[in-house]
Structure formats: structure tokens, C-alpha cells
């Protein structure tokens, strides 16, 4: 790890102001992803601004401070009742030790686990190289994207991102030039050469809070994932889904796929297949097919499409039973 100057901030806006005045700085939440990237010298910042001591007023139900740990989020009874997808996603992420330290803001802004990205001996267009090692003939890409982008075939690793998008959570960001609140689904952008971050956050912009609405959609939500190792693992495919059913028909639906593209992917075609219809075996099957209709898997990750479809069906069947 390269040495760095270390700063703390009493609030997230203060941290954002400090970051805005620095040239080569990063923010630090729990550090469970950041420290690994620093050790591998994927990132070599001169300054690290820790959010550890930052005070965030988040006493209201449904308001999650960005510095909340995954363990705290998983233990939040309001979230468990009003946004079960978020509860399960937090509870299933990583290991007990990591959940005790990792923060919600850091989980949303974590980097891909693409092993070529994390090893500077390989070409990576995200890191600014002309080629992507994952897209060469002999690459090892079984965990990579099945909806690859021309610039990058990484898989987005966050559990929380699909879940928060499915329940239509709002992400509140702070920046010295102006704060903004956006739908969690709008936090991410397509990859581009030389841009390591997956979010639309501007340099120095930070997530301060996330709000989960008290809505029928969020209450009827679920998160399911497939991972190779049962004890703990990054998911190979995950699905977060939420439906609002009224009068026997779906009037709103969100289906979000994780770990299949460089960003969490809203399966809008699958959502549209449900809206206006009853939730039954036939519509569920249609939605699952629609979710992966545009998939273009690589040679070694076709399994993600097969399992992904089943996960969409499992998630929706679970929502059918939920009341």
C-alpha cells in the first residue's frame, strides 16, 4: 500500500468539501473494499478522507445513513418489514466480520470483482488500457457479465444495489456545488474507458443518506441470489423484485438483475410483461424469459442466463405468496 494522508470529517458535506479541494483523493467508509484496492495498488490516492466519524441524522424510519453498517441494516426491524428485499440483501452479503464494518454507501460504490481489473498485470479498459483482458479468447470469465458492454464485461458486485433499486429507494448525494436526490436506479452508468467508478457521482460527491419509501411496492419485495459457495460468496446472479398488486392485477413492478452487467440492470421488458396482468404461472414465465431475452453470454457464463431466469421465477413466485 502506498502511504497517504488521512483525514476525518465531522459530516458528509464536510467530507465532500474536503474532497473537492484535493487532487487525488478517495473517500473511505468501512474500507473493506478500498483497502484491498489500495493493497493491490489499483488505486493510489494521495489522500484518504474517512467518513467513519461523520454524523448523519437518520433517526426517522426508512432513512438509512450511508455510514450504516450492513450488520446494522440487516438488524433494522423497519426495513425488514417494509423492504424485505433490502433486509435479505444486507443479511446475505459477505461474512459476519465484513458486515460489521462495511457501510451501505461503500457497498453501493464498491468496485467490480473482475480479477483482471484488480490485477495490474492485465489489460483493463476500465483502468484506461486499450483492451479488456476479460474479452480475449482465452480469458477466464465465468463470473463476468452476460449483458456485456463494449467497453467492459465486468459484473456489478453489490447485493444492496438491486434491492434498493427494486424498492424504489432514493439516494441523497452531497457536493459543494449542490446536493441532489435520485432514484437508486439512476446512480449507475455504462462503463467508459479510463473510468474506474461505476456511479455517476462527480469527483468529491458523496452519498449521505438513502430513503426507503413506505409503499406497497417496497413491502412486497424480495431478493434471491445464486452463489457457488454456500457459506459466503459474491452472487453469480441475483434478482431483486417488487410488485404492487391491486384488484388482482400488477399495477407496478420492478425487477432488477445483479452481477450480470457492469451495473445493476433493471429488466424493464420483464416489468412491462407483468403490469396490467395478474401474477400467475404464465405471466411469471413470460417475465422471466423477457428478463434475459437480450442476454449475450460469454462462452463460460451461459449458466448465469439459465439460473437467472429461474431466479426471476422464484422471486416472483415468492411475491405471489407474500401479502
Amino acid at each position: 500500500m502506498k502511504n497517504f494522508a488521512y483525514y476525518t470529517a465531522e459530516s458528509v458535506p464536510a467530507a465532500a468539501r474536503a474532497l473537492a479541494g484535493m487532487k487525488n483523493a478517495v473517500a473511505k467508509g468501512g474500507g473493506t473494499d478500498l483497502l484491498a484496492l489500495l493493497k493491490d495498488r489499483v488505486l493510489e490516492p494521495d489522500e484518504v478522507v474517512s467518513l467513519k466519524g461523520a454524523k448523519i441524522d437518520a433517526k426517522v424510519a426508512g432513512v438509512i445513513a450511508a455510514t450504516t453498517t450492513l450488520a446494522e441494516l440487516a438488524a433494522d426491524p423497519w426495513i425488514k418489514k417494509h423492504a424485505p428485499a433490502v433486509h435479505v440483501a444486507a443479511d446475505e452479503a459477505a461474512t459476519p466480520q465484513i458486515r460489521n464494518v462495511a457501510t451501505v454507501g461503500g457497498n453501493l460504490c464498491q468496485s467490480t470483482r473482475c480479477w483482471y481489473y484488480r490485477n495490474k498485470n492485465f489489460a483493463c479498459s476500465k483502468r484506461g488500457d486499450d483492451a479488456c483482458a476479460a474479452l480475449t479468447a482465452r480469458s477466464q470469465h465465468r463470473y463476468h457479465a452476460v449483458f456485456p458492454h463494449v467497453a467492459c464485461a465486468s459484473a456489478h458486485a453489490s447485493n444492496l444495489a438491486p434491492a434498493l433499486i427494486a424498492v424504489a429507494a432514493t439516494v441523497h448525494c452531497v457536493h459543494p456545488d449542490g446536493d441532489r436526490a435520485l432514484d437508486a436506479g439512476l446512480l449507475y452508468q455504462d462503463p467508459a474507458k479510463g473510468r474506474v467508478q461505476d456511479t455517476i457521482l462527480r469527483p468529491g460527491e458523496l452519498i449521505e443518506r438513502i430513503t426507503v419509501p413506505d409503499s406497497p411496492l417496497a413491502r412486497r419485495s424480495t431478493y434471491v441470489e445464486f452463489r457457488e459457495r454456500e457459506s459466503f460468496d459474491f452472487s453469480a446472479v441475483s434478482v431483486a423484485a417488487a410488485v404492487h398488486i391491486d384488484g388482482g392485477k400488477v399495477i407496478d413492478a420492478r425487477i432488477v438483475l445483479g452481477a450480470v452487467a457492469p451495473k445493476p440492470l433493471r429488466a424493464t421488458a420483464a416489468e412491462q410483461a407483468l403490469v396490467g396482468q395478474p401474477l400467475n404461472a404464465a405471466t411469471i414465465e413470460k417475465a422471466a424469459a423477457a428478463a434475459f431475452a437480450d442476454a449475450r453470454p460469454l462462452s463460460d457464463n451461459k449458466y448465469k442466463v439459465v439460473i437467472g431466469r429461474r431466479l426471476v421465477m422464484r422471486a416472483l413466485a415468492g411475491l405471489k405468496e407474500m401479502r
Binding site: N3, L35, A94, T95, P96, Q97, N100, F232
Partner: protein, 160 residues
Amino acid sequence: MTLRRIAKRLLVNGEEHEVSFLPHRTLLEVLREDMALTGTKHGCELGECGTCTVLLDGEPVLSCLVLARECEGREIETVEGLAGASGPHPLQHRFAELNAAQCGYCTPGMLMTAMSVLRKTPAPDRETLRRELAGNLCRCTGYLKIYEAIEMAAEDLQDG
């Protein structure tokens, strides 16, 4: 950039230590290299194996992914603090008795996670143990003896 050491007071196993270390050092590095507490093991360094587990304010964390400077004012417990005046902790006794340690590399982390489990759940069932120990990998034992040793230690502790 200058590599000036920083001085911090760290509370380790109930004792305060004034330690000076490089500002970007992890808790694992400071425990092992600056404080000569080599019971905590250095494995993957990336959060994958759990052998570096210590307790921070009673909760298990990975010392390889925590900056030492952020531990000032917090209670750090390592495997060196487990044994008491009367000898090894019941967990240590039972691990030895059941051969729950083979190469032993995972053991300090296992013991510390187990310690935190037993404080919260004096009589944990197998499912709780599986879940709480999910982040501690063992390549030798197949886990069964580890679970059994913890269950027996739990009984020892309840019997007083």
C-alpha cells in the same frame, strides 16, 4: 510524501499501549509487527479467509481490512487475551482435546469469532454456528470438530 510514524494509544486485551506506526498500517500489521502479537494470523489480506479476526468493541472484524489508526479508543481483543490466570480458555481446551486444530492457521480467528458468538448466544445451535463462522475458512478439519469443540466449550462455560 514523508513516512512519519504516528503515535496512538491502543487498548489491547485490557491493557493500554502507546504504539507508533506508519499511518497507513492495518491493525493486523500493527498487532503483529509493531506489538509482536503474532497470535493473530496473516492470511489472504483481502477479507476472504477470516484468520485475522479480532474483536473490536466485542464484534468480530477482519484486522487486515481495518486501519490501526481508526482503532484508537476502542477495545481490541486478540487470541493472546483468551487464556486466563487459571489456564487456557474452555474454547482452547476443547479445540485441543478434539483436534479441532490441525495445521492451526485458522484457529486464532475461529477462536475469536467463537468467543463473540458465545458471549451473545451461550448455547448456540448448529445453524447459528454455521452462520456466524461462515467467514472463517478452514482447509483442514472439515469444520465438524470445530463446531463440536465450540458446543462443548459452551456447555463448560454454562456449567461454570
